[in-house]
């Protein structure tokens, strides 16, 4: 059962301006037209209440976009209110284009993650490219210069040609866009599982730096100030993209939906970036916002809503790409690389000059009013007149019933004892697991991204988190994205905690103090009780972990209805986390550095193989059992211990244990260095099944290496922090042996084989031909 929110008390509209007449040629408003716009009967009733009359076709389109899940968060808003959002270092929390935190020395970091899932399922190259474009605009409209991007991706298994096509198209789209704009890609993650067949996830995160005083908000303030459309012209692409993003896909989504996918132009974006930053510094504008999802509609109404003002704009003044566009189309177009700017009255010519320098257009299209209305005219004739606040904030919000699916409970409770014995030879199992695309090197991906442009990248993709320096200071910023959807499927609350914990662990492994979070909640259809259950549980887990780690959530994105023909993706609440290093020269990589270094394990091995990559890869795609338990307090102690070790320059390397377990973490560190692979000599004495100790994915573990001379000091510091630590063995010779002994089995193989398996796995999978749809030019 759904219950509309009760926050609609003061929604009655003052109606001083005349209601618009239906525009000649527009369709009549019927129940079918309303349903086609994705609005429920109840929502339509509310629109009638707000307007006091039947909406025009243009108005219906506007409501449909603003009250879509993508813009209105109607099924997620109440859950999002459970997340911690405040801390002394948070300058801007949720609700703006991006969150902003204080990173010291008068500098602020803007950062946010956003999804572009449905467009990428239909047109992977453009879908992913425009995803990067949109998130970059969210950053520079805050006044910050983008300094890094990350990408969090999910696909079905690469054995399918269709998935290889989607994967390669998305990677190329992410790369081409960021490369051209000149923003380094510093990390991210990718995960392959059949649950993402048909519903790939493309979440892009961006970070930008600014002086604190340059912060600018998306507000339309100052009555009489001029609204200007800036950047690219408006075309017919992407109309109703926001509504499209709020529906399930079906078999025939592919070709028919392509017109709803936008086309990106990174060159224009680069010009828009430079022009926007120059504009913001010039003092000629008071507000700026990306025309993102729901285009001109959302930017204009949200800017008015935030400022508590009104706006009037004339669609006939908007520069268009093609003739004959209706107000409906102009308002809902999602053409890329456009901004809405509020110029100070009388400063329009200055704005135009700055844009002209960057070969772009800026045209006055309307002005700020004080009547609280979102009023649209076409050549002076009113075609829409809606109270702005109810439009942006009056979207009904729902709290639904959440019930766990029986089949998930059964899977979770399944007895996994039979899988604790090795399937075959332990070493062969290990190499197979290491070659899984969820464990193997992502080099095939990140070598298509420019990772070093802007000459600030201190740690490139391939390790635990990306690190950049902050120009002009000793400081650095680290960033990561994490989420294991399998854990979240089996237990959404523990899975979400695990995602936050892993993100924080990844950051501390580079020496960064976890500081704040942006999240991307990717789920199925929230109207289904088992999906709503996943959403609520995941948000509760995330809230608990973020609260304890003091990493507030400063914004993010919700992507629901990720289903194809009724089958939902795994619940995938992606965590994008940023951290700060006071002295970036102290940062540590994940690769072993020198022969003879002492290898230590921080944290405990437990008999946990539920939800593991080992089960999926070696036992026919089995997804079952309890995912690893997360002890948040132990994680917190571990974070502090690792940070103290980095602070004292005691670490030669630090690497988190995640998919593939301890054995794969050791392998990744052994082969991760620039100078070629180093051997490993490790003995484990845990009284656990070798499968569990080698391949189990218990949380809260970090593999470090230290100079043998500082072993005692390191163990002592860990003890003082209440963190269990022990010596596992030593780093071996270059091109030596990879040897891991346990009481009841061992791994033994030349480390060169480990190297080859780790780096060749993904290229070998991708060497098979993709299934490219006819007529696709990008693959």
């Amino acid at each position: 059962m759904s219950t509309p929110s009760e926050q609609d008390g003061a929604l009655a509209a003052p109606r001083e301006t005349p209601p618009p007449d239906p525009r000649p040629g527009d369709p009549e408003i019927t129940a079918v037209v309303v349903a086609d716009h994705g609005l429920s009967e109840e929502e339509y009733e509310r629109i009638l209440g707000i307007l006091g009359r039947t909406p025009t076709f243009t108005e219906l389109g506007v409501f449909s976009a603003m009250w879509s899940e993508h813009c209105g968060y109607k099924n997620s808003k109440r859950l999002l209110q459970l997340l911690p959002t405040k801390a002394p270092w948070v300058i801007q929390g949720p609700g703006e284009n991006a969150g902003v935190i204080d990173v010291g020395q008068g500098l602020a970091l803007a950062f946010k993650i956003e999804s572009h899932n449905p467009p990428s399922a239909v047109e992977p190259y453009q879908g992913a490219a425009t995803g990067v474009g949109g998130i970059l605009r969210d950053i520079f409209t805050m006044g910050a210069r983008p300094v890094a991007v990350l990408d969090s991706l999910r696909f079905g298994d690469l054995t399918s040609g269709r998935n290889r096509y989607l994967f390669s198209g998305v990677v190329k789209g992410v790369g081409d866009y960021g490369n051209c704009v000149g923003i380094p890609n510093i990390g991210g993650e990718v995960f392959f599982d059949r649950a993402y067949d048909g519903n790939p996830l493309v979440n892009a995160m961006a970070l930008g730096l600014m002086k604190e005083e340059d912060l600018i908000l998306g507000e339309a303030s100052g009555v009489g100030n001029t609204l200007m459309a800036v950047g690219a012209r408006t075309g017919r692409d992407g109309i109703h993209g926001a509504t499209f993003a709020s529906e399930e896909l079906s078999e025939d989504s592919d070709e028919a939906s392509r017109p709803q996918v936008q086309v990106g132009d990174p060159f224009t974006e680069k010009l828009l970036l430079e022009a926007s930053l120059e504009l913001i510094k010039s003092g000629h504008i008071v507000g700026i916002q990306d025309m993102g999802a729901a285009g001109l509609t959302s930017s204009a109404s949200e800017m008015a809503g935030r400022a508590g003002s009104g706006v009037v704009l004339d669609t006939a003044l908007v520069p268009v790409r093609e003739l004959g566009m209706t107000p409906y189309e102009i308002l809902l177009s999602e053409s890329q690389e456009r901004m809405l700017v509020v110029a100070k009255r009388g400063h329009e010519e200055h704005v135009r000059k700055i844009l002209e320098k960057w070969e772009l257009e800026a045209e006055p299209v309307g002005e700020v009013t004080d009547d609280g209305h979102f009023r649209i005219e076409e050549d002076g004739v009113v075609v829409a007149n809606i109270p702005a606040l109810p439009l942006t904030d009056g979207c009904p919000t729902y709290e639904r019933e959440g019930i766990e699916a029986d089949e998930v409970r059964e899977l979770r409770e399944r007895d996994l004892t039979e899988f604790l014995s090795p399937k075959g030879d332990l070493t062969e199992d290990f190499l197979e697991l290491l070659g899984s695309p969820n464990v193997a090197s992502r080099r095939w991906i990140y070598e298509q991204f420019d990772t070093t442009v802007r000459t600030s990248t201190v740690i490139r993709p391939g390790g635990d988190a990306g690190v950049i320096r902050i120009d002009g200071t000793d400081r650095g910023i680290a960033a990561t994205t994490d989420c294991n959807g399998r854990y979240c499927y089996l237990d959404p609350r523990e899975g979400a905690k695990a995602a936050v914990a892993e993100a924080a662990r990844n950051l501390v492994c580079t020496g960064a103090l976890p500081t704040a979070v942006t999240n991307n909640l990717n789920f199925g259809n929230p109207l289904k009780p088992h999906i709503y259950f996943q959403m609520r549980e995941a948000v509760l887990g995330m809230a608990e972990a973020c609260e304890l780690f003091e990493t507030p959530v400063t914004g993010g994105n919700v992507s629901l209805y990720n289903e194809t023909d009724g089958l939902a993706i795994y619940p995938t609440p992606v965590i994008g986390m940023v951290g700060v290093l006071d002295d970036v020269s102290k940062t540590v990589g994940h690769a072993f550095r020198a022969e003879g270094d002492c290898i230590l394990l921080l944290g405990e091995n437990r008999e946990e193989i539920g939800g593991s990559e080992y089960l999926y890869r070696l036992h026919d795609g089995l997804v079952a059992g309890h995912p690893p338990v997360v002890d948040l307090l132990a994680e917190r102690r571990l974070q502090h211990a690792v940070l103290a070790l980095v602070q004292n320059r005691l670490l030669h390397s630090a690497h988190d244990c995640s998919e593939g377990g301890l054995a794969c973490a050791l392998a990744q560190s052994a082969v991760g260095g620039e100078g070629g692979p180093l051997g490993v000599e490790v003995s484990l004495h845990d009284r656990l099944a070798p499968v569990a100790v080698l391949f189990g994915e218990s949380t809260g573990r970090v593999v470090i290496t230290v100079d043998p001379a500082s072993e005692g000091e390191v163990l002592g510091m860990c003890r003082n922090h209440g963190v269990s630590a022990r010596v596992l063995g030593t780093v071996g010779a270059p091109h030596g042996e990879f040897r891991v002994d346990t009481p009841s089995g061992h791994l033994r193989t030349p480390v060169d084989d480990v190297f080859q398996r780790y780096y060749d796995a993904l290229p070998n999978l991708m060497d098979q031909d993709p299934d490219i749809p006819e007529g696709d030019i990008h693959a």
Binding site: K172, D176, P266, V453, T455
Partner: protein, 234 residues
């Protein structure tokens, strides 16, 4: 002395080059905008990497028609040192200041990673600080870096010691695996006949600070500075 860094719309390594030059004693980098028609009193010119004009048509094909390029051509023809890096190399080829062309990488993918390049000649204003045969570790980041030229052009480049850098292994061998983009004769950088115009695909400006990794790119900027200083004092 002043060194100009040209900014085209779409340049994105202009600030990186500026920063690398700034680390040199006695050098003042200055930006020049693509619409400028004069370089001013600069001692050298850098054409930085990026995607000038979105690389529409072909990489570098539109940038050569920028107003500033007339001044750059004039400067180069008068013997002034000019370095084109990545997209800058592509612009120099399109402008006819260097022979040949840079076409799509053999892999058909953008490639971004450190490579090894071997210094083939120190007889240039840009490589005097290196040793012949020295192997450098420098990043590449390009989709169109596959050097092509007519056989007679390649023969001339070879015969006149104008190949400055070649892609190689860490120990200086020219194996197929060491050639990241399919370039003819493993070419990573060349100079013009008068040896004052250098084009190269790898990014030396990304390899000048220890915090960010190897610093093998320093030698190039130091060579240029020394060349200019020597010229100024004689």
């Amino acid at each position: 002395m002043k060194i100009a860094v040209i900014t085209f719309p779409g340049s994105n390594c202009d600030h990186d080059c500026y920063r690398a030059l700034k680390l040199l004693d006695g050098v003042t980098p200055e930006f020049r905008w693509h619409r400028d028609t004069s370089l001013g009193d600069v001692a050298a010119v850098i054409l930085p990497g990026g995607f000038s004009y979105g690389d529409y048509l072909r990489a570098g094909a539109i940038a050569r028609f920028s107003p500033i390029m007339d001044a750059v051509v004039e400067f180069a023809e008068a013997g002034g040192p000019v370095v084109g890096i990545c997209n800058g190399f592509q612009v120099l080829c399109e402008a006819g200041l260097l022979p040949g062309a840079l076409v799509r990488n053999e892999s058909l993918r953008f490639q971004s990673h450190p490579v090894h390049i071997r210094v083939e000649t120190t007889r240039t204003p840009f490589t005097s600080e290196y040793e012949e045969g020295q192997v450098l570790r420098i990043p590449i980041a390009h989709g169109e870096g596959n050097y092509h030229a007519e056989p007679e052009v390649l023969a001339e480049l070879e015969g006149t010691d104008r190949i400055v850098f070649r892609y190689s292994t860490a120990d200086g061998k020219l194996t197929p695996e060491a050639n990241p983009n399919g370039s003819a004769h493993h070419i990573a950088g060349i100079v013009n006949e008068h040896r004052n115009v250098l084009g190269m695909m790898p990014h030396p400006e990304r390899a000048v600070e220890e915090l960010l990794g190897p610093t093998d790119g320093r030698g190039l900027f130091q060579s240029l500075r020394n060349h200019l200083t020597a010229g100024a004092t004689t």
